[in-house]
């Protein structure tokens, strides 16, 4: 290692005065304060919000159009991560090509799921939910058999750091995630608002029967929703593979977070999912930084509980699925 840090830290106090200590000799949870730390925490949260929003929006889209709670959505994220491992680490393709392949292949896999699993169960939401749990287990087992149970190391495509402000930095690998998430979510928003396919998707989400009476094909819109939803989960996994490293059970954590996000945002609300992802990521990151990671999980769940009590349909949800 290089030279040791030169100076000792300044004793800390909170805005309420001296901080009580849990164990004698230590500062309390809010001891470390500086503008740099706050801004760095915002930067860290931006990354967390980005990949979480991609996953959550895909989950909302599938639920909105098909009415199926896809518990295997975390495993689609996992497949995307393995796509990067395979194409980028194993086959030596460029990182961006591997990410693009992750999006397309996982999206295509979504089409297979829609046709083989969810379409026959379209009128049976409980059956769809159980089928998705079965799919989740199958995908985990398949990944374990093919790639093993250990995490697969994926060397980051770059070690370059982006300096946002003095003392506030983000590795470019994280910046990529933020940029792609913003780009894809913006494109999705434009697609939904401006294109006929987007209108059809929204119509099916609002009232499938009325949409069908207008000549909109449910099968076609379901395929589209599944491709986009799965592809977004896939690209999130593919982009974050160098940061989290693929392993068969990596979908578990992300699906729990994604469910919290869509419940807070309002089930069926795409905008709500994005805003809730940002909110959840901010809470998680700030509590982890200023308190600890264990409390962050508790606070995240408390956030969901409070929203459910105060506004049972979520921040942007309506009573009926839409």
């Amino acid at each position: 290692m290089g030279e040791a840090a030169a100076s000792l830290p300044v004793p800390y106090t909170s805005v309420f005065g001296p901080v009580p200590t849990v164990v004698s000799g230590f500062a309390g949870p809010f001891g470390v304060r500086s503008l740099e730390l706050i801004l760095q925490t915002f930067a860290n949260a931006a990354y967390a919000a980005s990949y979480l929003a991609l996953v959550a929006v895909g989950l909302v889209l599938i639920f909105g159009v098909m009415g199926i709670v896809n518990f295997a959505h975390g495993e689609l994220y996992m497949l995307g991560a393995y796509a990067t491992f395979y194409f980028y680490s194993e086959q030596q393709m460029s990182f961006l090509v591997a990410v693009a392949l992750g999006l397309v292949l996982v999206g295509a896999f979504g089409l297979l799921i829609e046709r083989g699993l969810f379409r026959p169960l379209r009128d049976n939401p409980l059956g769809g939910l159980i089928a998705s749990i079965g799919l989740l287990l199958c995908l985990q087992a398949a990944a374990a058999l093919e790639f093993g149970t250990k995490k697969k190391p994926v060397v980051a495509p770059t070690q370059e750091i982006l300096t946002l402000l003095p003392g506030v930095t983000l590795p470019w690998t994280r910046v990529y995630v933020i940029l792609v998430a913003v780009g894809l979510l913006t494109a999705l928003w434009i697609f939904l608002k401006r294109s006929k396919f987007g209108w059809a998707l929204r119509a099916c989400a609002q009232d499938p029967e009325a949409a069908a009476l207008q000549g909109i094909s449910m099968n076609q819109t379901a395929r589209l929703a599944m491709f986009i939803g799965a592809g977004m989960a896939g690209v999130a996994g593919a982009l974050t593979a160098p940061l989290v490293e693929p392993e068969p059970h990596m979908g578990h954590g992300i699906i729990v977070a994604a469910f919290i996000v869509i419940i807070v945002g309002g089930i069926g609300s795409l905008g709500g999912a994005v805003i809730a992802a940002v909110l959840y990521a901010l809470v998680q990151t700030f509590v982890t930084t200023y308190w600890n990671g264990v409390m962050a999980d508790i606070v995240g769940l408390l956030l969901m509980l409070i929203v459910l009590v105060v506004k049972p349909a979520g921040l942007f949800g309506v009573k009926d699925r839409a």
């Binding site: 290692m1 290089g2 030279e3 040791a4 840090a5 100076s7 000792l8 830290p9 200590t21 849990v22 164990v23 000799g25 230590f26 500062a27 309390g28 949870p29 001891g31 470390v32 500086s34 730390l37 760095q40 925490t41 860290n44 990354y47 967390a48 374990a144 058999l145 790639f147 093993g148 149970t149 250990k150 995490k151 190391p153 060397v155 980051a156 070690q159 750091i161 930095t169 590795p171 994280r174 940061l243 989290v244 490293e245 392993e247 059970h249 990596m250 578990h252 954590g253 992300i254 729990v256 998680q284 990151t285 982890t288 930084t289 200023y290 600890n292 990671g293 264990v294 962050a296 999980d297």
Partner: protein
């Protein structure tokens, strides 16, 4: 071997090849490669550890080491009891680091498989197995002496004295890098992390190094370590201590330290698969990182006090058979088996009670890194941990190299009050755990 093993390996083919070879060598004396053939009934040993899941890195590599150990021992005639040579056969059960599955596994190994000894990682999976062990009289080993209490008379910690050996790394730093004055600790919030934090706190205090904030605990489901490293670095510590974090946490924590520009000293209990961390950071960044587990081809492993047969040959064979799998526990379960074999032959019996009596009879034992004593009454309420010297390892030009073997009992004799104080503060003393 049980079907659970099929799940654990990266490559099915490699697993099947290796276990088929091991089983052929171990089974009934057929196809023994060595010069002496074991003729007695096979002695079954239970391997009840996480072979899949987040903690698999501290289970599965140990089983591979046991396979090599069994082949070596069986090729030389196995375990000699009453003049008969018995081959040793390992029966594995993947507990996935789940207490419920550990209970099921212990019952299966004892009742269905008839094992004579069970080796475990320990920690969160140990409490249900202790109940079964006490009821059935089964001898069980753990890698985590913090599992020991006065209520665990049949539980032994003969290979590693986690987390107490972590004091050696801190003491070495205190003596060799006296300019390091401050430290920050992070740890996962579980049965492995907490006692280790208490140990590091005591070791830092003994070395005159200030821990400048409360240890930063994180949940075991954490996947994004950037906020944790941001918080650690905000206090500008000379040392960032990763405690006994699992491999899946150590790697991203090191990577985050690198990406966020940390320039100080990194200290960790383990650094399994450190070559991957070097690849994700740089040789320069990892230079001097201190941890506690050596590669067995280290020249210092040929020192005369080492109680491990042909460590270099074992290491090379391991890496040939299981490339990229060498880690902290690769040798530990095999080392426990050395101790068990010596005790069984001394007792002329594989029965748990007789083996335990033979193991502890003299009050000392041949631990891997030298002669050690059965110890632990003050810390665990029972003298069932074998404690002696432990290596301090540093990354040197991208390779792990032993810096020194240091005495844990010597540290304990000088600073035991500190360790007990911090263990009590963390609620980890045996009388607080039972």
């Amino acid at each position: 071997m049980s079907i659970e093993l099929i799940k654990r390996r990266l490559s099915r083919r490699r697993f099947i090849q290796s276990t088929a070879t091991g089983a052929a060598l171990a089974g009934a004396g057929i196809g023994l490669a060595g010069p002496v053939r074991a003729e007695g009934e096979a002695i079954k040993i239970g391997f009840l550890a996480p072979l899949t899941g987040d903690v698999a890195a501290w289970g599965a590599p140990g089983l591979y080491g046991c396979q090599i150990w069994a082949e070596r021992v069986n090729a030389n005639g196995g375990v000699i009891i009453d003049g008969r040579r018995h081959p040793v056969e390992f029966v594995a059960f993947d507990n996935e680091y789940s207490a419920a599955k550990a209970r099921t596994g212990a019952q299966k190994l004892i009742e269905d498989d008839g094992v004579k000894f069970i080796m475990m990682l320990g920690g969160d999976t140990m409490p249900p197995v202790v109940d079964i062990s006490n009821r059935t009289g089964m001898l069980v080993s753990t890698l985590l002496p913090s599992d020991l209490t006065p209520e665990t008379p049949l539980l032994i910690a003969p290979a590693e004295v986690h987390p107490i050996y972590n004091v050696t790394g801190v003491a070495w730093l205190g003596e060799n890098k006296p300019d390091l004055k401050t430290a920050m600790i992070c740890a996962q919030d579980d049965a492995l992390g907490r006692p280790s934090v208490a140990t590091y706190l005591a070791a830092f205090e003994a070395a005159g190094i200030d821990v400048i904030e409360e240890p930063l605990f994180f949940d075991i489901s954490t996947t994004d370590f950037a906020p944790i490293m941001t918080r650690m670095m905000a206090s500008d510590p000379d040392i960032i201590c990763l405690d006994t974090a699992y491999t899946d946490y150590v790697h991203p924590l090191c990577e985050q330290a690198f990406l966020q520009g940390y320039k100080g000293q990194i200290l960790s209990c383990t650094m399994d698969f450190y070559d991957q961390v070097v690849a994700k950071t740089s040789k320069e960044f990892m230079e001097g990182v201190i941890f506690q587990f050596p590669d067995f081809d280290d020249p210092k492993m040929n020192n005369p006090q080492i109680n491990f047969q042909d460590p270099g040959g074992f290491y090379n064979e391991y890496n040939r058979r299981f490339p990229g799998e060498w880690g902290a526990v690769s040798w530990e379960y095999a080392s426990i088996m050395d101790l068990w074999k010596a005790a069984a032959e001394s007792a002329n019996s594989a029965e748990p009670e007789a083996v335990l009596a033979a193991m502890k009879g003299t009050g000392t034992g041949a631990q891997c890194f030298g002669e050690a004593r059965w110890w632990g009454k003050e810390l665990f309420g029972i003298d069932n941990a074998l404690v002696g010297n432990w290596p301090v390892v540093a990354i040197d030009d991208g390779v792990a190299r032993i810096q020194e073997f240091r005495s844990i009992p010597a540290w304990w004799d000088r600073h035991k009050d500190l360790l007990i104080k911090h263990m009590e503060a963390m609620g980890e003393m045996y009388y607080q755990r039972i």
